[in-house]
């Protein structure tokens, strides 16, 4: 196992710069997820770690050794591709054995390693099949088997679950996570799915437009998003973001929207009086008001998911979403008094989008 250090890495394709000076440290044995919308440079970064793309400037080190000029085969890494990239003309066994064969491993060693990996991944009975005779999930497992037989320093995953259906995706998510706990191998995982990132990562690196927006433990990123982009990107349903002006009265801070709705922001909010801010509150941090000051939300749509009830409504002219664990039977058009949990309110600077406080 080894750590991966990415230092001031830039990537240009011709005159277009797609990665603008990324710094990340991936600790030995950790599971790091590169998360971002498509085109944010996360796959390019992964491919640079793999050696499939050249690094325009900066350094990538694996296990302390700079690998900028080391060809992919000598970096001691394995990669799981989005389309699996299984060799269609080789049986499952040979797909997994190929890398070992090329490295001149002995037949008995190869056989033992392939069978061991097949056991871990429940592939033993498919070893004699061609990739086309397998289902999507099985192919996915073969692709992982091909990676683990090599026992590499670092595993790279490039959106490995995006070709699977929703149910299988959840199942494979758990399997990959289990596999990581078992092998304790350094893993870098690229995805645009924030649920995958939240559930699998030790550390999430949120990227946008070739920059890192924030990196940290999943719950840390969830609880304290650094900026508006991260706040909106992480979490489903997405955080409510409402623009307004800070007003202080009687020791309490409020954010007043353009149409005059006052949103309570808690006592410890650090925002100057009169400044323009974005007020953020997650749907599950809105509760029903129990007397006292409340927000008057007009219900538009109620979406029960079984586990929770999602209420989409209007607060003045702003759309707002609230999620409740209880099964409320609200009707469209009904006015419901709600209140945000004050300690869960996020304030962001309206100009820069940065977190305040």
């Amino acid at each position: 196992m080894a750590s991966v250090d990415v230092r001031k890495v830039f990537k240009r394709f011709g005159s277009v710069e797609v990665v603008h000076g990324i710094d990340v440290t991936i600790e030995e044995g950790s599971f790091v997820v590169l998360l971002g919308p498509s085109g944010c440079g996360k796959s390019t970064l992964l491919r640079m770690i793999a050696g499939l793309e050249e690094i325009t400037s900066g350094e990538i080190a694996i296990g302390g050794k700079v690998v900028n000029n080391v060809p992919p085969k000598d970096r001691d890494i394995a990669m799981v591709f989005q389309n699996y990239a299984l060799y269609p003309h080789m049986k499952v066994y040979d797909n997994m054995a190929f890398g070992l064969k090329l490295r001149g491993a002995e037949k008995a060693t190869i056989d033992q390693k392939v069978r061991q990996a097949a056991t871990i991944l429940n592939l033993t009975e498919y070893l004699d099949r061609f990739p086309r005779q397998l289902s999507g999930g099985q192919r996915q497992r073969v692709a992982m088997g091909r990676a683990i037989v090599r026992d590499p320093q670092v595993f790279l995953f490039d959106e490995p679950l995006s070709n699977l259906d929703a149910k299988l995706r959840v199942q494979m998510r758990t399997e990959i996570r289990e596999l990581h706990q078992r092998l304790k191998s350094t893993s870098v995982y690229v995805t645009h799915d924030q649920i995958e990132a939240m559930t699998m990562a030790d550390k999430i690196v949120v990227m946008r437009d070739g920059h890192i927006e924030q990196s940290g433990a999943p719950l840390e990123v969830y609880d304290r998003p650094n900026n508006l982009f991260v706040a909106g990107f992480i979490g489903s349903p997405a955080m409510n973001l409402v623009e307004g002006t800070v007003k202080r009265a009687n020791g309490a801070t409020q954010v007043v929207t353009a149409d005059g709705v006052s949103l309570p922001a808690g006592a410890n909010a650090v925002a100057a009086e009169g400044s323009k801010v974005i007020y953020g509150i997650r749907p599950d941090h809105i509760a029903l008001a129990n007397g006292g000051a409340s927000l008057d939300v007009e219900v538009a749509v109620v979406e029960p998911t079984g586990a929770e009830t999602l209420v989409v409504g209007k607060l003045g002219k702003t759309d707002i979403q609230a999620a409740f664990r209880e099964r409320h039977a609200f009707k469209p058009g009904q006015r419901v008094p709600m209140t945000p949990m004050l300690d869960k309110v996020h304030l962001f600077d309206a100009g820069s989008g940065r977190r305040l406080g």
Partner: protein, 317 residues
């Protein structure tokens, strides 16, 4: 519909109904739909082929109907040195030209598969030899191989590599190599473009996976490119062999089979004997003698073209 017809005229209504039912019959319909295509094939393919085979068993000459003479033509051909030489020439021509066409064509396809500037133009340019009418390029080769004005001889003598002009078309083996070179030049684009199409269907991520698995460029070629290209290679190989084996134009325009019949292929000899020579029966027999070779090549390709086991099953990626 039948009801309205009956209302108008009871008798024609019944007939129409009968016709309608008859046209609804699947067998009738399928015969009807196949008729146009089948008639074209019968008139322009089956009939000439059958006529040619039949003529091979007769002694028909131009302007004189012949009588059935059984295998006489074939027996005389098997004792005919020129015919046997033409069989030898055809095999050498086909085998050597095919090897070069595929070697160079694959190489060209691999080069074209790289990112190169002006890709589209370069690819179009490569097709040029294939677009030029055969006779035109044959005439160009005729000049290139001319005993006195050959540009190759001139070039080599300018570099001081030879002191006498090469007699390309006057010496048997020189002539054979010369027409093979011309055929290779003409055939490469077809092979290269077909194989390039095949190469482009190979997912780049397979090469990346192989690179990560530790394969060098030769191993990537050997373990990824070659097996993935095999199906299309078999198709192109078959077509190329068939075209080369039955080649006529190039030879006839450059050498007419000379010198001393050294470049006579079966096709040119068949024409030579049948039309200028007037021995239609014998010419037809020579042409018919090509059939076993062609059937052999087709059977080979039939097995080559069968879907390989790994190609079976779904592909939902």
């Amino acid at each position: 519909m039948a009801a309205t017809a009956t209302a108008l005229d009871p008798r024609s209504g019944a007939a129409l109904e009968k016709l309608g039912r008859w046209l609804d019959n699947r067998t009738v319909l399928s015969v009807l739909f196949m008729f146009p295509a089948a008639s074209i094939l019968l008139v322009f393919l089956t009939y000439p082929l059958a006529l040619g085979v039949w003529m091979g068993f007769t002694d028909v000459k131009i302007g004189r109907p012949g009588i059935f003479i059984g295998l006489e033509n074939y027996i005389s051909l098997f004792n005919d040195g020129v015919f046997l030489l033409s069989v030898f020439n055809t095999i050498v021509y086909t085998v050597v030209a095919t090897i070069f066409k595929f070697g160079l064509g694959l190489w060209l396809a691999l080069l074209l598969n790289h990112t190169i500037p002006f890709k589209a133009y370069v690819r179009a340019f490569v097709l040029l030899p294939y677009i030029i009418p055969t006779v035109l390029s044959a005439i160009a080769f005729w000049w290139i191989y001319d005993a006195q004005f050959s540009i190759i001889s001139w070039g080599l003598s300018q570099f001081g590599l030879i002191d006498r002009y090469i007699d390309f078309l006057g010496v048997p083996w020189n002539a054979r190599w010369s027409v093979i070179a011309a055929n290779v030049w003409r055939g490469i684009p077809f092979v290269a473009i077909c194989l390039l199409a095949g190469l482009q269907t190979i997912s780049p991520s397979l090469y990346e996976a192989a690179a990560l698995d530790g394969a060098n460029s030769w191993q990537r070629f050997r373990h990824v490119t070659v097996p993935m290209l095999m199906p299309i290679l078999a198709v192109v190989l078959t077509f190329s062999v068939l075209f080369t084996f039955t080649d006529f134009q190039l030879i006839y325009a450059i050498t007419r089979g000379g010198p001393l019949n050294a470049t006579h292929l079966m096709a040119t000899l068949a024409f030579q004997r049948a039309i200028p020579g007037g021995q239609l029966g014998e010419g037809a027999a020579i042409a018919t003698a090509m059939i076993p070779f062609l059937v052999g090549a087709t059977i080979f390709s039939y097995y080559g073209l069968q879907r390989r086991k790994w190609q079976q099953g779904s592909q939902d990626d």
